[in-house]
Assembly symmetry: C2
Homo-oligomer: 643 residues x 2
């Protein structure tokens, strides 16, 4: 019988808000500390923050990445029942909290997460410190919550102030009900090599596939005979601190541009978050230098250093909850400043469509940080290295979640964006970056491997800074509603394609996407007309400028549905939400997507298709309503009273 | 066996929105048509709109006004079980929909509503047409929904467009599950005179009390042996029409002042709504005259004529849903224009606290419409006639619901107000006005009795018009945040007093109102400071004026909680909501109030008191958050970056 045991370490966060964090656990599986850091005390060993406590003991079932489709395969194709079992899943592909949620839904008693070299090991790279791969003793920390944007699990919807009412732990949002623990692959191999049962499907075999061969004792799946988890945890309400700096806008102090990133790190945080926090500091320093020369931004700039991001985006979410009223009236944009680097290849941008054009414009003014690309712009380098260089512009992704923009974008509808340096996603198949959330995320790993000249970080700083300074200073906000229109049409087509996989059901239940296409067309016309009027704007008329800026600023807000998405009251953006199956990924028209998900297996098809129709209706209304906000503020089509 | 039978009439409304209305029913109880109207076809006889269909037959139980406290008394003191019975309740005191809700909660199979002279009969007044009292054959129409602000029962949260998804009738919001029907007191006396059982409590005896004497056949309550209701109804989705007129603001077209009132009437609508609709027309005419002289309002004026108010505030709510995005960004105020007159005595105003001062200022400029008060202002007349003339200002009430401001104020947080002429509420004890919602609401009843010189209607028109023209034209919005502060403190004290009726429980469960008092104090300081800064405002700085106006406009929005009140997602105002026990009445701090309601009988006292604490916490946070919106837009207390 293999055993996974944990020894206690106490983790304590100081908070401005009183949030709930997982605080005490026990493990024997500390990571070997890298050279030069041997004297550092209180290194938090790998653990799954907010894991339940418990000592479950049972057969071990391997569930691949623990994705929804993996569980479907287990249950439906392989006939393996996870109820009452302990699961082992490899990290990667999806947010770890979703793996845990799936394990709970499958009835598991516990889940072990491990880093498989197939997912955390780049080819021809040495483990740290010789290279930047994850050593076999390294493991990925991280929270395993399913908050869906709630912030503090005990105070959903409200900031966790001293006086705030806190729910009981039983009523808390998103806490897993089972023990969870992360291990490295040196440990994982011991568990996996004795696995009984048949070999898993070929598609499930990672680098450790040697270990899950058919062995003795197999009954009805690829299982270890028995393991015991021994997880000691303790929840504690504690204090966190956000640090917020303001530069008052000279002309429109009541319009806010926010650059925010987190400051808390699992261990040394060399990449996550310090590569990002350093960028915030550089931008603050740039602003300070400009101010010494007499510059003042037209609008207010806010620099935010968030706490407790690693515990579920706590600092940023609590601040958003605390300031929701002023932010919903005044916030123009939120630019995120988490890790500035996760690879050594090119730029990666995720943002709201109305920021696309500004991102392209800024990257054309920034130099490529790559050796051998002197004189080339970042835009050109990015385009050249992009997966689809044949397209006329480099790819920009949808925002998902997993970082501090979430509450601003998906709950409050403040246009948001993020930029970082990334790997070559075509050739480098590992998840995230190998040492992610391990003790090996040091300053040195950045200095030696990721960005020896610090030119990549500088380029990212210029993109993030370019965004906030442009947004803060341009008389007319540099936003492109036509890009939003284009994206909406793309998303409408894409979700329609998904539905069309069920042509008979669509006919039987009279499911039509006409209203959504019509809404996207309305939006397209409204956006085009808006920008045509903008070209004729009298920019000397301060109120006229303010009015169009308000329309631009509030466009993103128009996509917010106060009722939220089904079962996710804090995910309120009708166009974008984190995938219900992977918090990291962005889903477009998430309400429709979720209604369609696995609909072929719906217990009550008519109800399921009615929900699809309801979601199409909500999406169509929302897009139409957003289009209305772009029309002249007193529509010409309305009846006017003439004298 | 008495029998109540109904004969069919078809009611059809044409809608801009496709809403669901109760459309077909049968009754034999048409009202005697008043003189001069004998030839009018298609008079809709008295019925309860949205009643369920059915033919329940059982013993009749008299439940007084059908209020929550009446049912408590029945069940707890008198030991009478209403399950499976048919109830008879007198109209008055509370919204009829709440009576029906209570009947359903009590397990009744049907409910008959009657107009008792004790509630619909003024002393020394003849019935119409000789006077303005309700004839014995008259009965009160009206919807019996419990929508809680949802608008169309089939499309809660979204406008009922052609393409909108409609829920099934089973999932519809607020439809009563039992048959309901209204009768006049000539019919009621036949039912009541044969009532068995003991006399009801003295406090329950209306003018018809002769009829519920102890009679034969009594078993365990004051019951009629048997009645049968025979209700045929048919629900139908149909079209309604709102008529909206706009005058584009010359300076700030993107700031909206709305004057809205409904146009639909149960029969002739002489009072409800035409006395109000006429006021809208007069104000439109006044605006037209001003425009001929070259005037243009600074802000946009919107005149709205709503449809289907009587079917659950449908026109106004659907328009609010349709335009929520632009309204939440741009609407400054909504002034309601339902019935302008319900009595002949003095002014009655219900409005948000920040409008108090403007209401007083305007009424000081309007003349008293009363004979013998020449040279006296409306303000003086109103103050003199007020219930509390010893106070330094006439009384202004909280907004409840039951008219079209609901979606604007309680869902969207747009400051709202209403004004009308009313009875002497100290001496005239009848509910509403006697002929309310009957066939006797004619033009003549206004001309002969309520306002023969039409001076009272004119005074109301000047108050409503004064509000919208002041709000549209003043450079700085004429709103008083200090009045809001005063009201908040009053409400905090009042809800605290209510809680203090349970001193032991408050101690046992550590219930404190400190956070709420502290928040009210924060708000008071912020409001005072705001107005001090306002006194020093450079009014030549267009952007500076816009910024303070935005703070004033959005103040009401700050009280909106996107999560809504418990179980009432469309009632989102934390300071004001319609009472859960009477839609007509406004409740302050409704979340706390509802949590405290009947708490001494809570099944789980600890949970119940935890909910009180949670609601206090939400209220305190909301008041604090609103206070933040009044502070300088970049707070001086924040850390600034200095050069």
């Amino acid at each position: 019988m293999a055993s996974v045991r944990f020894c206690g370490v106490s983790v304590c966060f100081k908070d401005r808000y009183l949030i709930t964090i997982k605080a005490i656990f026990k493990t024997s599986l500390a990571e070997p500390v890298p050279e030069g850091y041997e004297d550092v005390a209180d290194i938090v060993p790998p653990y799954s923050a907010f894991s339940a406590k418990g000592q479950p003991e049972d057969e071990l079932v391997y569930v691949n990445y623990g994705r929804t489709e993996d569980f479907f395969k287990l249950e439906r194709e392989l006939g393996i029942n996870c109820t009452g079992k302990i699961l082992i899943a490899r990290y990667g592909k999806i947010f770890r909290g979703n793996k845990v949620k799936n394990a709970v839904l499958a009835g598991a008693k516990g889940i072990i997460l491990f880093s498989d070299p197939a997912d955390y090991w780049a080819e021809d790279v040495e483990p740290y410190p010789k290279g930047w791969n994850l050593p076999g003793g390294g493991a990925q920390r991280g929270n395993v919550l399913n908050l869906n944007g709630a912030g503090d699990p005990l105070t959903p919807g409200y900031p966790a102030k001293e006086y705030t009412y806190r729910s009981s732990l039983e009523d808390a949002v998103g806490l897993p009900k089972i023990p969870v623990h992360p291990i490295g692959f040196h440990d994982a191999v011991h568990l996996l090599q004795n696995m009984g049962g048949p070999a898993p499907p070929d598609s499930w075999k990672g680098a450790l596939n040697v270990s899950y061969r058919i062995g003795p004792g197999f009954t009805d799946g690829f299982r270890q005979k028995k393991v015991r988890m021994n997880i000691h945890t303790n929840n504690q309400v504690t204090r966190i601190y956000n640090v917020i700096g303001w530069i008052r806008g000279a002309v429109e102090p009541d319009r806010y541009i926010i650059l925010g990133g987190h400051r808390d790190a699992w261990v040394f945080g060399g990449i996550d978050p310090v590569s990002g926090a350093a960028v915030v500091h550089e931008n603050v320093r740039a602003a300070g230098k400009l101010m010494k020369k007499g510059w003042r931004p037209r609008r207010t700039l806010i620099f935010a250093s968030w706490d407790a991001e690693e515990f579920g985006l706590q600092g940023s979410t609590e601040w958003a909850e605390d300031n929701a009223r002023v932010l919903q009236e005044r916030a123009v944009a939120y630019i995120n400043a988490d890790s500035a680097i996760e690879g050594m290849y090119t730029l990666r941008v995720d943002c709201t469509p109305s920021l696309h054009t500004l991102v392209y414009d800024i990257t054309k003014k920034v130099s490529s940080p790559e050796e051998g690309e002197e004189g080339m712009s970042l835009y050109e380098s990015w385009h050249k290295r992009d997966n689809w260089p044949e397209k006329d512009k480099p790819w920009i992704s949808k925002l998902g979640s997993g970082s501090d923009f979430e509450a601003y974008f998906i709950r409050l509808g403040i246009m948001s964006g993020r930029a970082r340096y990334t790997k070559n996603r075509k050739t480098e198949r590992y998840s995230s970056y190998p040492v992610y959330h391990s003790v090996y995320e040091t300053y040195e790993i950045v200095e030696r491997f990721y960005d020896p000249r610090f030119r990549r970080l500088e380029a990212v700083a210029r993109v993030r800074g370019g965004l906030i300074f442009s947004l803060a200073d341009s008389a007319v906000l540099p936003l492109d509603c036509v890009e939003y229109a284009t994206s909406l049409s793309t998303y409408a087509n894409s979700i329609h394609q998904l539905a069309k996989k069920h042509p008979e059901a669509m006919q039987q239940y009279a499911v039509s996407f006409d209203s959504l296409f019509s809404a996207a067309e309305n939006f397209t016309v409204a956006a085009r007309d808006f920008h045509q009027r903008l070209d004729q704007l009298d920019s000397s008329n301060a109120l006229a400028v303010r009015m169009v800026n308000d329309q631009l600023m509030y466009l993103e807000r128009a996509f917010i549905d106060p009722l939220g998405l089904p079962g996710r009251p804090f995910y309120r953006h009708i166009i974008f939400a984190p995938s219900s199956h992977n918090k990291y990924a962005g889903e477009s028209f998430p309400g429709i997507y979720d209604a369609l998900f696995d609909i072929e297996n719906a217990a009550e098809p008519e109800n399921a298709w009615n929900e699809v129709k309801r979601q199409i209706s909500i999406a169509a209304f929302t897009v139409n309503a957003a289009a209305e906000t772009l029309k002249p503020v007193v529509s010409e089509t309305k009846t006017s009273i003439h004298n």
